[in-house]
Symmetry: C2
DNA sequence: TGTACATCAGTGAACGCGCGTTCACTGATGTAC
DNA sequence: TGTACATCAGTGAACGCGCGTTCACTGATGTAC
């Protein structure tokens, strides 16, 4: 990493082409899913020959890793922006939930890349778990700000003993539980909606999502 | 369909080989996911040449269709068996929930084939929605048997106007809502667990699942 | 029971395809004196 | 400012692979008289 602080034109060009490759990769993923990602196909669409991409990525795996990282990063940034706006109390959690849904609908395949069926031969790099815990921290904050008149559940005792994932967040067990259920319940509705499991049923998924959010806010 | 009622030896052999092909297909899916399913690879494992499989399936798509159908069928059968045992009231729903989890853990890729990220180029046949609504009917029955002291939600009015998916089941809106949340909440926990999103966190997913079930039973 | 015929499972060769990846090379862009 | 050199983006050919699928064919199994 010989960093000369000021970017040379070549460096500028490199990062630009890298970004363009990733854009085409996202388009391809949006069209046919992550398992259909092909370096040659991307190169063809960019009007380049296949091997040219190896100047920018060591191989297919590194490209996917980069995309996964970007997806997590994007969600974490979205969350931090919403949390930074600071509506306070229930407003925060509601804002996060709506931001999550908007983020998911904006690019369903990106959502699936992060939260969906694992990509067959691929294993995520370590640092994404760090970014993931960033998003969890934001949810924890929002949950901690809510009035906690929930009745204690048997699960509270268990989660109290396994709170390492909260990364030192000083939250009561009931808050940890609420944060987890926020995650699983919103994901439950979202993933089924994005996978098309509600298409046969005529109701509006947004309203079911809102109903689940209400339930999470009220108790 | 010239049906001679009694099975000829050839018919017997055909159905047996078909079943064996499907078994190998499931093994392959369990190992690398549905998008990696390959007819040639199956043939090789069976000690046959690739084209031989075309005696039994018109092509890759027909095989996948058959597997999807079998998966739905299997879940519907599991549900009906549990419901048939008839524990009554909350016991039914609890039994269904545990059966669902066992069914999912038994073969995660089968669960993903049904409820996970849609297989890229593939579109499910029509009759699976029928089988899917069979499983929903069982859930609806179990929910209808529960005491319904839940407060009305805004969503109830909406779902009342879109109850076609319940296939004529005479359930109150609150029951329809409960059935939907049973589905989405259990799926929320299960899919994240199967995708490995809890592995970093030390808590026991089974307990979170149980906690969600308790919440669904209590109100 | 025995023979002639029809059915059908399975083979091997072949087609065209796209994939990831390597390699030696060309030509343009930037750098040093 | 001008020239010699180094850097590096991109090409085209090639490798080996596995895929789905077709086709003409062989050989075994079942059927009809």
């Amino acid at each position: 990493m010989t960093d000369t602080r000021t970017k040379t034109p070549r460096e500028r060009y490199r990062t630009q082409v890298r970004a363009e490759i990733k854009e085409h990769a996202w388009e391809q993923i949006a069209a046919a899913g992550a398992s259909a990602l092909s370096l040659n196909a991307i190169a063809k669409r960019m009007g380049m020959s296949g091997p040219a991409l190896y100047r920018y990525f060591a191989g297919r795996d590194e490209l996917i890793t980069e995309l996964v990282r970007d997806a997590y990063r994007s969600l974490a940034d979205t969350f931090r922006t919403v949390a930074g706006a600071g509506a306070g109390a229930g407003g925060d959690l509601a804002g996060l939930a709506h931001a999550l849904r908007a983020w998911a609908l904006d690019d369903p395949q990106r959502y699936f890349l992060v939260f969906g069926t694992p990509v067959p031969g691929y294993h995520a790099p370590d640092d994404v778990t760090e970014i993931a815990s960033e998003t969890m921290a934001v949810i924890l904050d929002a949950c901690a700000a809510l009035p906690s008149d929930r009745p204690a559940a048997p699960f509270d005792a268990h989660i109290e003993g396994h709170r390492e994932w909260a990364a030192g967040h000083p939250a009561a067990p009931a808050v940890l539980r609420r944060a987890l259920t926020v995650w699983t319940r919103l994901h439950g509705v979202l993933s089924l909606e994005l996978a098309g499991h509600f298409t046969g049923m005529a109701f509006d998924p947004a309203r079911l999502y809102a109903a689940e959010l209400d339930d999470l806010l009220e108790r």
